[in-house]
């Protein structure tokens, strides 16, 4: 239908920015995700001040207060060692957020350049990289971290690295597929015909035009990474008691949770809410950035 659908505007240098801001404000999903995300970050930042019993997060026992239901003193009750669950959940935010960011960052640092190079140059490098990625992607994501964790013993650091190892192929593949699309655009060929150096073409022309889906994926993955690391901790790989880690807290409560519901419900809700927030953020961003979904 000719150019009816292309909304070309003739005025204003910042028109496009305004347009995106407008779409972002209009997108309730994105705004909600953004809000919860902000709250999470603030909570992590000020955790020791928010927590009512900060010392409980670091392994102090208080057997007198054991397994109290939620109440005025303990908003979310106490666990089998009498520790305040609210405080532990709040302080656990730090661990979860930092490990989530860590995983995504490492994965991005490995995956982005590899995807760019493979996509831009193609050929043997591309073939090798893609076969490697296929190999990684055809197995359950948690399998390798479990093997690594099971063999090397558990620690948050190993956890983070092993998850990043299985995570980067997703980025490599995403970036590559984007680069393959952008590479065929005529402006890339135009730049080549002018004699612009490869390095500049990759950064200025290709990266700049293929970054938005990566941003979406990053915000989604922040959530998934938190989920994955919590799952590992739950299995018994990762955080060690008495650390305040959500997955571990649920795991520790397993023997008695049927009678004391609050011991698992609140840490689980914390995981759910944070992953949900990043999901909304990513989904909203996608709607704003990708005209096809809109």
């Amino acid at each position: 239908m000719d150019n009816v659908t292309s909304e070309v505007s003739q005025t204003g240098r910042f028109e496009r920015v305004y347009y995106y801001l407008y779409l972002m404000r209009k997108n309730r999903l994105l705004m909600l995700g953004l809000c919860i995300g902000m709250i999470l970050f603030l909570t992590a930042l000020f955790a020791p001040w928010i927590a009512t019993h900060p010392e409980d997060a670091y392994g102090s026992l208080n057997m007198k207060e054991k397994l109290r239901p939620p109440g005025a003193d303990h908003f979310m009750g106490t666990d089998n060692y009498g520790r305040d669950i609210f405080s532990r959940v709040v302080i656990g935010t730090r661990k979860s957020l930092s490990i989530g960011i860590g995983i995504v960052l490492i994965a991005l640092i490995i995956g982005l350049p590899l995807g760019l190079i493979a996509g831009y140059y193609g050929g043997k490098i591309d073939e090798l990289l893609m076969r490697t990625c296929d190999g990684f992607l055809s197995f359950p994501q948690l399998l390798l971290p479990i093997v690594i964790g099971g063999v090397f013993g558990s620690s948050m650091k190993i956890n983070m690295i092993s998850l990043a190892i299985v995570w980067w192929p997703w980025y490599a593949r995403l970036v590559r597929s984007q680069v393959l699309l952008v590479r065929e655009q005529l402006y890339v060929m135009a730049a080549k015909s002018i004699g612009v150096k490869d390095r500049i073409i990759i950064v200025r022309h290709i990266l700049a035009n293929s970054i938005s889906p990566v941003l979406v994926q990053v915000s989604l993955d922040l959530g998934y990474a938190i989920l994955a690391s919590a799952s590992l901790s739950f299995i018994g790989i990762g955080a060690k008691p008495p650390a305040a880690e959500w997955g571990l807290m649920i795991s520790e409560a397993r023997p008695f949770f049927l009678n004391f519901w609050w011991t698992t419900t609140f840490p689980g809700l914390a995981i759910f809410v944070s992953v949900f927030a990043f999901n909304m953020l990513g989904d909203g961003l996608k709607e704003v950035l990708d005209p096809k979904v809109r």
Binding site: S138, L142, L143, V151, I250, T265, P267, N279
Partner: protein, 330 residues
């Protein structure tokens, strides 16, 4: 595929050899005597150089021998054989469940965009991938087993069933076996035991399938050929449920393999919660007991399953999409 498997065995084997803790020590138990350790080392073949051990391991593996478990001291192959059907049954059931529920929801919401059910479905699918399944499983247990007490807490079948209505093991899948033999009492027991773990396991891929189906259906109904069908006066319902669906489901079929492998990974968590006697629980037990041969054995079996599943998914894809069929490439 063979290459992938080879690399995988090497990696897992390599990990197990550089592991910080000593398998022999674990075998013997606490406070070992040096002679004991020596003897166990010899027995486990730990005194030989690494490549010899690897070749030995692969040779045995090809013959179907994964060695002995450090935890149970049983041959791993036999244990895996016993647990294998339980996992496959659970995962397949979960997969079928997520397809049967997920595809109609996805299609419906795509055709009724911006409606109430669309928004509900959207929130559901967003939360579905966000919920930690191990926690979800426990919440289900709280609700259905502890609070309402309508479903069994854990296990694969009621234990007394083994005496009252014993199951003839034909395929190893309880549901199939009981259905074949007409053992309906046992069937019912197996089925209700299956419900909670399967629903828990399918939750994430269900949400994923809903999302994918919805977005690809929306894309398809904006295509030129749908406009063509409209221009030729084909009815809206026929367009939607005959023309658009076949195109719209192609992406869903391509990710079937991915979802299946995802659920296999999830089975480790779910089986440990519901005490489901399958590979996932075996893996979990091996992990917390540092049982390397066990971990390696399950990993290899999982890997083989995943490779096969991906192969089947590719074939399925070629069956539906004529474009893939003819070019021969993926």
């Amino acid at each position: 595929m063979v290459i992938v498997l080879t690399v995988l065995t090497m990696v897992t084997f390599f990990f197990s050899t550089i592991a910080p803790s000593d398998p022999a020590a674990l075998w013997v138990g606490p406070r070992p005597k040096p002679q004991q350790l020596e003897r166990v080392r010899e027995m486990l073949g730990l005194d030989k150089p690494i490549h010899v051990r690897y070749l030995h391991y692969v040779k045995n593996m090809v013959h179907g021998d994964f060695g002995k478990s450090i935890r149970t001291k049983q041959p791993i192959t036999e244990e895996l054989r016993r647990y294998f059907p339980a996992t496959i049954e659970l995962v397949t059931f979960a997969m079928i469940f997520s397809l049967i529920i997920g595809i109609p929801i996805g299609v419906y919401t795509a055709f009724n965009r911006e409606s109430f059910w669309d928004h509900t479905g959207r929130i559901f699918s967003l939360s579905g991938v966000a919920v930690p399944i191990f926690w979800l499983g426990m919440m289900f247990q709280l609700l259905f087993c502890s609070f309402w007490d309508v479903l069994p807490l854990q296990g694969r079948i009621s234990s007394y069933m083994l005496y009252t209505n014993p199951i003839d093991s034909i395929t190893g899948f309880h549901l199939v076996d009981t259905a074949i033999t007409g053992n309906w009492i046992a069937f019912k027991s197996a089925f209700i035991h299956m419900l909670l773990p399967a629903v828990t396991l399918s939750f994430a891929s269900l949400a994923f399938i809903v999302r994918l189906t919805r977005s690809s259906m929306i894309e398809v109904i904006n295509e030129n050929y749908i406009r063509t069908a409209r221009a030729f006066g084909i009815g809206e319902n026929l367009i939607k449920y005959k023309y658009a669906i076949k195109n719209g489901l192609i992406p869903t079929i391509t990710i079937l393999g991915l979802s299946y492998t995802y659920e296999i990974g999830g089975s480790i968590l779910v089986e440990s919660i519901f005490d489901w006697p399958g590979l996932g629980r075996y893996m979990w037990l091996s992990v917390i007991n540092n049982d390397y041969p066990g971990i390696m054995g399950v990993t290899i079996v999982f890997a083989v399953i995943c490779c096969l599943v991906n192969l089947i998914a590719d074939l399925l894809c070629a069956l539906v999409d004529p474009r893939v069929r003819l070019t021969g490439s993926r």
